[in-house]
Each structure stands twice: as C-alpha cells, then as structure tokens.
Amino acid sequence: MKRLLAALSLLLALAFAFPLTLQDDLGRTVTLKAPPKRIVTMLPSVTETVCALGACDRIVATDDYSDWPESVKKLPKAGGLYNPNPELIVSLKPDLVLVSKYGRLYETLERAGLTVYAVRTETYEDIFRTVRTLGRLLGLEAQAERLVAQIQKEVYQEEARAAKAKSRPRVYYEIDPTPYTVGPESFIGVLIQKARGVNIVPKELGLFPKIAPEFVVEKDPEVIVATYPNALETIRKRPGWDRVRAVRAGRICVYTGGEDSLLSRPGPRVAQGLRLLVDCFHGRP
C-alpha cells in the first residue's frame, strides 16, 4: 500500500513538473516536455553530477575530458570547449544537451533543433545550485536533495578534521608553471580556506592571476600545492626558490593524473579534493 502511494505521488509530481520551463545560467528560457532520456553533457563536473544523481545510463555522449565515473569513458566523445563536435551531438538525437555557459556551442545546437541548457559551475556554491537544477531538469528532485546533504556531510567531516589542526600554514597553489595561481575567491581558494590553509594571494588579484615569482619568494609559503606534471622538479629548480620554506622542508604536494580533477571540478566529489588538501596541510590522520 505504502509503495503504491509512493509510486502514485511520484507520478503525480512528474505530471505536474513537466512540461518544465527554467531559466538557464545564460538567462535563456528552456522548456522540457518530459524528463530527458538521452543526455549529452559537455562539462566534466556536470557529467559527474548527473551520474551521482543515478542517471548515468541516460548519458549518450560527453565532452573529451569527462572521465568519472569509469562507465562514461566508453561513451562517444563530443570534443571540448574549444573544439566541440556539434555534428556528432546532433547525430545522437539527444533530448537535452548540457553545455558550459562559455563558448557559442548552444547557438549551433539550437539551430539544429536541440534542447540546450547552459550551466555555470565555477564556485563552491555552484556545486549545490547545479545539483538542484539538474535534479529538476531530470525529474530527480528528491535524489538531488539527498545528494546535496551527502556532499555537505562529507565536506563537513573534512572541515572538522582540519579544524582540529593547530597550525594554519601559508599556502601557495600553482595551477600551471607560467606561473598561474588561484585567488581566495576562486573555487580552489575556498577549498584552501576550508582546509585551514592561508592563501598567500590577496583577493584583489582576481580568480586566476599570473603571479610574480618574487612575490611568492617574499611571502615564503610553508606549503606549495601544484597540479601539473613534473611540478616538483620544475619548482625546485627555479632561481631563488631553494630558499622558500616549503621547498626546503619538502612540503610540495603534487596532484596529477585524475587527482587534479578532484580539486579543479566543482562537482559531487568536492570532499575528496578537500581531503587531499587537509592531508597535505596537516598530515594524514
């Protein structure tokens, strides 16, 4: 009896929810007649969220960089932000395409008659906003609420672990050796703060500033985090950097080969990225 009621209420909810009209993150009005069953996702973090909502089997293609969970690796790859493959996308006849708000892919796909929803996933808050939005789009609102609660619980566990640490190390985070770093208000900047590290970069410099090397040497960070191959040797061999405390003490954490995605994608695995930083700043439990 209970089950029947549950099933009925679900059907009712669906009946009222669709057709669904929403404003996407570009301010476009998007209407879905029914819950989509053939989805193309063009952002790795969105692919992860759709799968975390239990709708992985509805995805028919992803962008080139989506690589989690394992099952999406086998799917057709429709390019990236700079080299998308709209012909492939159209040929798969999707009933929903999730694209980045950057780039003009949505125009092409719209002209081809597809339903396109543009997503912005940049900040920590965007994670939860996107989960809820995708929940509505896919007709999985209850799952979305559960997923939000689950992610928040995992993040809180890591934050609590970091809060027990006595020190708050000065941190320099390098995303490429040019060197580009992250500002405190970027997604990674927020994770650094949650892991109880102090970013040496002031927020006035914006989200992803190209930083002067002598500024880093002057700030003398206690920990360096880098997310590109060969970072350890690159950083150690820089002129004058052998005096930096993190280099002298060997406290350089390098995350590559998939671990970097945990830190760079505002998605459902954010707590795992946070755990990497807490381990790096304060040691493993």
């Binding site: 190209k210 002598e214 500024f215 040497v217 004058g240």
Partner: protein, 342 residues
C-alpha cells in the same frame, strides 16, 4: 634640436643617450618589482653584504635576461632589415621567430613525451642551450622558406606576405601541439605572448653565449649591409663574396632570434621598432645601427618587462602585450608616413 650639431657629435650623443637608457633600465629594474624593497636593501644585496635571493637570484638575472633578449631581437631585426633591404623585416614578420618557437616546442614534445606546454617550461629551466640550437635550425629554415616563397628579396610586398604566411602556419602548428593539453590554455598563451618570469642565471648564460657567437660577425659585417643597400650589383662590384656573407648574416640573425625565443617565448615588435627609431637618429649606417640596436633593444625590453611586472603587481601582465601595445601604434605611424611620402 640635435640636427644642427656635427654628425660625429650627434652620433656620440645618441650612443651616450642609449647607454644612459640602458643604465636607467638596469637601476629601475632592480629597484622595483612585485615586492617593495628599500633601495639600501637592494644595494646591500648586490654588494653581497646581505643575503637576498629576490635581488640576486630573481631580479638581477631577469633584468639582464630581458636586456639580452631585447638586444638579440633588435639586432636581428636590424640585420634582417638590412639584409632584405626592407624596412618591415623583423624576426616576427619574417617567420623566423615562429620557426624558432615551433622547433623549440617540437623539441620539447620529442624530448619529454610530456604534455608540450609543460615540457616547454622544463626545457627553459633545464636545457637552455640545446633548446636554443634546435630553435636556431627552426628560425633558419623558416626564413629560407619565406625567401623561397617570396622569390628572393626584391619585392617588398611579396616578402612581407610570404613571411606572414610562414609565420601564421608555424604559429598554428605550435598552438596545435600545445593545445594537445587544452586544460592548460593559459600556459600556451603565456608562451605565445612572451614570458621572462623565470629567466635565471642559466638562461642569462645561454643568451650571453649566443650573443657572443652572433654579434661579432654581425658588427663586422655592417659594411657589407651598407653596401647591400646600394643594390646587389653594386655590392658585388665592390668585390665582396656576397652569397657567403649573406648566409653568414642570416645565420647570425637566426641564432639571435632563436636564443631569444627559447628563453622568453614570442615577443613581438622589439625587432621592428628599435632599429627604426635608431635609423631616424643615426641614418642608414649599419656599422652604427647594429650596436645601437643592441643597446636600444636591451633598454626597451627591460623597461617593458618592468611595466609588465609592476603595473598590476603582484600579478604580472604578459610582456608581449606591453611590447605590442607600444609597438602596434608605432607600426601604424610608420605605414602612415610611408604612404605620405609615396
């Protein structure tokens, strides 16, 4: 103002002024940076009275490296202009810089099996001179290709057109190689806009070696470049072994371009603007123009890099953006003047 002075005095003044600029660039470059240091701390660090890696390991090699890169680009620009009897020739427009960049990138890819954008930086930091040599071959081949496509140096329009085509194709290939690592587009752009951030003593040594090899023959061949301005026939009638000397000039200028590109990426307009400014002050005498370009290019790039690293400090602008914003309008002015005269 200087027009009424005797020629020798005027030329002497120009060189004195260039030396003063270079010295000023050195002093300002050491005094200012992302970190505010009191002047006496800088002086004490330079004299070795006080340890300060910011001055001795970061600023000093970066300023000197910028001067050597700027000098190399300006001298090779002047040499190209003389060699091709074409005021618009410079390492950038002749495809030579793009050739060097492509070769250095290819070298990095072959060497590392790493993603190109990163191998690039590993090459800069670990193997400065071998990268220069590879870039030298690239610069030389690209320039020769430009010459073949243009059917020689006689027709200005075709030469510039061929240079632009070769340069664009090679830049496209370089970008393609680097974009294999599309996650790191920022690093790619940083390279194609020039970057002096990590020029250390190893880079300064590699640049100095290239300049030591390339500058003496160029300075000695100033007379040949002067003769060339009168036309190939006249130059030949003076009894010069022209083909060999032209190849030597081309090789030396390519080596300079390559050493600059290998250390600092692609920095536009220095090779075009500096010789032109100096030509107006010194006249068309390459015996003076080449050494003057070395000094002027050094001062200009060191000052441009000073702007790049202090305007938004402690963030940095790409130095190529600064030189292009200074050089672009100058280029237009040049074209406007040429049109006015014709």
């Amino acid at each position: 103002m200087t027009l009424s002075l005797p020629l020798a005095v005027r030329r002497g003044l120009v060189f004195a002024w260039l030396l003063f600029l270079l010295l000023g660039a050195l002093v300002l470059g050491l005094a200012f940076g992302a970190v505010a240091l009191p002047p006496e701390a800088v002086v004490r660090a330079l004299l070795g009275l006080e340890e300060n890696p910011i001055v001795t390991e970061l600023r000093l090699p970066r300023v000197l490296g910028g001067m050597l890169v700027g000098g190399a680009l300006a001298v090779s620009g002047a040499a190209f202009q003389g060699l091709f009897r074409n005021p618009l020739a410079d390492p950038y427009l002749m495809g030579s810089a793009s050739g060097a960049a492509f070769a250095v990138t290819l070298f990095a890819v072959l060497l590392g099996g790493l993603s190109p954008a990163f191998a690039q930086h590993a090459v800069f930091q670990h193997l400065p001179f071998s990268a220069t040599f590879f870039g030298f071959l690239g610069a030389l081949l690209a320039t020769l290709l430009t010459l073949v496509l243009a059917g020689g140096v006689a027709r200005t329009g075709e030469l510039v057109l061929a240079g632009v085509v070769v340069g664009s194709v090679l830049t496209g290939l370089t970008t393609y190689l680097m974009m294999q690592d599309a996650d790191r587009v920022r690093a790619v752009f940083a390279y194609t806009l020039g970057n002096l951030a990590f020029v250390g003593w190893a880079g300064v040594r590699a640049l100095a070696l290239a300049l030591l090899l390339a500058l003496p023959p160029l300075f000695l061949l100033g007379r040949v470049l002067n003769a060339l301005q009168l036309g190939e026939e006249t130059a030949k009638s003076l009894g010069l072994p022209l083909e060999g000397l032209k190849l030597l000039l081309l090789g030396a200028a390519s080596l300079l371009t390559a050493s600059a590109v290998a250390q600092a990426g692609i920095i536009g307009f220095v090779g075009l603007v500096v010789p032109h400014m100096l030509r107006r002050l010194l006249g068309e005498d390459y015996r003076l123009l080449l050494p003057a370009s070395a000094l002027g290019g050094g001062a200009l790039l060191a000052l441009a890099d000073l702007l790049a690293r202090t305007l938004a400090r402690p963030a940095e602008l790409p130095v190529g953006v600064v030189t292009t914003l200074l050089g672009g309008p100058f280029f237009l002015y040049l074209m406007w003047r040429r049109r006015g005269r014709a």
